[in-house]
């Protein structure tokens, strides 16, 4: 029997706690929900969890999950839905977050994994927020594009190392939307529009140059897309984010095989137009960071030049955790 907790910020500003327990099914219902004094909410919770399970590739009828809310949410408040879905996934080891989860979000299409929005105003730190401007669908937890959306976005992670306690994984998200076909004729010579909010002009130019180079190597994607790049933490230095950016861009444009988990990459290049990946600094601390943070299904990409100097046992440790590592010389397959 496993028990975990997942929380959500209630309408009154307090916390709602969802407790999830997994136990052998023994002929009982697959999901059982209870909310004190609100059987309607419990019913909705069961429906939400069952619908969200449709997006999982693996079905297991051997377990029963019991979910309970510690108190009834306000009338019409549905922000607990995301927390319930995540609690159901965490207790069955489908999703393995690194820290405790506080989540707010609701959806009318859980069976597609889409998260439509949230009631919660503002963007408090450390809260997983559902909605188009934050977590738009469940696959995005691993950075994967939504196969049904009109705008494709993908995330990749990169180790941020400054020698301080703020070391951690940062993410970069690339969203692409097709340039309108009409009128593309006169804009043919212009570069693809790339916008990178929240960073300085130098970084903006660098991101645009990296994308232009790697798309040139790819042979496709020029003159097709309007691109938006966002960073989880816009204040950082160095060029080692570039490989993660390129991988996120390729995933968003539907031109890269997908990992089951996250893509964690570090590497830069002076020749993205040739698809080359070059070494970056701080091998040892970055490898240590990756070894700490990687989870099941994650794909780690490092520069080829690092291969000989990798810490002893890193590959095996990652494999034992269900992650895989590759040292790459150039992007693309083999």
């Amino acid at each position: 029997m496993t028990t975990i907790e997942c929380r959500s910020i209630a309408a009154d500003g307090g916390m709602l706690t969802i407790t999830a327990t997994r136990r052998p099914r023994a002929g009982r219902a697959d999901v059982k929900c209870s909310v004190p004094g609100a059987p309607g909410v419990a019913e909705r919770m069961q429906q939400v969890v069952r619908l969200a399970r449709h997006t999982e590739p693996r079905f297991d009828s051997r377990d029963q999950v019991v979910l309970s809310l510690d108190r009834a949410p306000a009338d019409g408040d549905r922000d607990w839905e995301l927390a319930a879905v995540l609690a159901d996934r965490i207790v069955r080891d489908v999703f393995a977050p690194r820290r405790e989860v506080v989540a707010n979000g609701w959806s009318d299409a859980w069976h597609l994994g889409r998260i439509d929005g949230r009631r919660l105003a503002g963007m408090p730190d450390g809260v997983l927020l559902g909605g188009a401007d934050a977590l738009a669908h469940l696959g995005a937890l691993n950075g994967q594009p939504d196969p049904a959306a009109g705008i494709s976005s993908a995330r990749a992670w990169f180790p941020m190392h400054s020698g301080g306690e703020h070391d951690g994984l940062g993410w970069v998200e690339v969203s692409v939307r097709p340039l309108a076909r009409a009128g593309s004729g006169e804009d043919k010579d212009r570069e693809d529009p790339v916008s990178v909010p929240d960073v300085d002009a130098v970084r903006q130019a660098q991101v645009a140059a990296v994308l232009a180079g790697s798309r040139h190597f790819d042979g496709r994607g020029q003159g097709q897309w309007r691109t938006t790049v966002r960073f989880g933490e816009p204040r950082f230095s160095g060029d080692s984010y570039q490989l993660a950016l390129v991988m996120a861009d390729r995933m968003a444009r539907g031109r890269e095989f997908l990992a089951r988990g996250r893509v964690i990459a570090t590497g830069s290049s002076s020749a993205w137009h040739a698809g080359r990946v070059e070494a970056v600094e701080a091998l040892a601390p970055k490898c240590a960071l990756i070894a700490r943070e990687a989870g099941p299904g994650d794909r780690i990409l490092l520069p080829k030049e690092w291969e000989a100097a990798l810490p002893h046992g890193l590959r095996e440790a990652l494999r034992a955790r269900g992650a895989s590592l590759a040292c790459v010389e150039r992007i693309g397959i083999i």
Binding site: W225, R253, G254, R255, L258
Partner: protein, 367 residues
């Protein structure tokens, strides 16, 4: 006069028997197997597969005449080779695999030919290349999504080889086809992702403003829900379970040589449970009856059909697992036996729910 009579008789005896109509030109290009009429001379390069009502099959070689016994259905099968393109990830339409595959001549070591079983249980009327490719793609995508096969970004040579081994075995175990060649390809020219997204956005706009029906011809944003006729779907799923479970059990029995007493027990238990599922399928109550002479409500029929479909999906997983067992070799099998336990549990649950008359009946047991 006598002379002309004699000539007529001679002509009648010498003229070959009239051939039944059969168009073999589509075979080998867009069709893999076509239903063949009795008495047809099997075209060169093809083979005939004859299947009786219980799913037992036999083959006839090219040049001979199809002689079906009472109750047998015949197909004319072209061994190929065929070429197709598979998209391993639904979210990455511009990168794919170009696969060359062929249907094997019958394997003398096997008691039943997997492709013949596929024909018997899944083919329905004919097997077209397009439909077959879709099935293969679904099987591949599910294995990748579950992590049983791996094709990660920047796949290395070793990982590619491991993938190929698993993929070849999956195709052989699940469909009975041999993969001759498989290479990653850029499908960008044929499946332009930007155009797909453009069409989706346009369709979404149309949904918001229904008056703007100008782009009626644009692609549908989501694949339209496949038509779901409970009676057809249920019959198809149950027939698959009925025909394939015994073959699957036979293959599972042979695939594992238990190393010790514990494993032997585990293996036996698995086979026993599969046998019970097979029995349950063989004695399944009719879809539209709650009890003899008592009709069942429409929505309950739909529920029953859904459970049959999910049981058939578990059967697909079981074939995929069998492929993994075959390539596992000497490596530890604990993980695979746990998967087998999960799949058999799913089969048991779905078969049980299919038997139930109402959803409440299952719910009461569960309370």
């Amino acid at each position: 006069m006598l002379g002309s009579l004699f000539k007529n008789t001679l002509q009648n005896t010498l003229r070959p028997l009239r051939q039944p109509e059969f168009d073999a030109t589509r075979l080998g290009s867009v069709a893999i197997a076509l239903p063949a009429p009795n008495g047809l001379t099997i075209p060169p390069g093809c083979a005939a597969v004859l299947v009786d009502r219980d799913g037992r099959s036999r083959r006839q070689a090219a040049g001979s005449r199809i002689a079906a016994i009472e109750g047998e259905t015949a197909w004319c099968v072209h061994p190929g080779p065929y070429t197709c393109e598979l998209a391993p990830f639904a979210g990455a339409p511009e990168i794919g695999l170009r696969v060359h595959f062929a249907i094997d001549a019958s394997d003398p070591r096997a008691t039943h030919q997997r492709f013949d079983l596929f024909l018997a249980s899944e083919a329905g009327c004919m097997v077209e290349l397009g439909g077959f490719v879709e099935l293969a793609q679904t099987a591949l995508q599910r294995e990748l999504a579950q992590g049983n096969l791996e094709l990660p970004p920047c796949t290395t040579l070793d990982e590619w080889n491991a993938f190929r081994t698993g993929f070849n075995q999956l195709m052989y175990t699940r469909f009975g086809v041999t993969v001759d060649d498989c290479v990653p390809v850029d499908l960008g020219a044929a499946r332009d992702y930007a155009a797909t997204l453009d069409a989706r956005l346009a369709a979404r706009l149309d949904a918001v403003h229904p008056s703007a029906a100008a782009r009626e011809g644009a692609l549908d944003p989501v694949a339209p829900q496949e038509a779901f006729v409970p009676a057809c779907e249920d019959a198809r799923a149950l027939r698959r379970l009925f025909l394939e479970l015994p073959c699957l059990m036979c293959a599972v029995r042979m695939a594992v040589l238990p190393a010790d007493q514990g494993r032997f027990r585990q293996h036996q238990e698995l086979l026993r449970r599969l046998d019970l599922v097979s029995l349950s399928v063989g004695t399944m109550p009719a879809l539209e009856l709650a009890a003899p002479g008592q009709p069942l409500a429409q929505e309950e029929q739909l529920r029953r059909a859904r459970h049959s479909r999910r049981a058939a999906a578990a059967l697909d997983e079981a074939w995929a697992l069998l492929a993994r067992l075959k390539v596992a070799g000497e490596s530890p099998l604990d993980n695979l036996f746990d998967e087998a336990d999960r799949i058999v549990a799913n089969l048991e649950t779905e078969a049980g729910a299919r038997r139930a008359v109402t959803a409440r009946e299952t719910a009461l047991e569960e309370a």
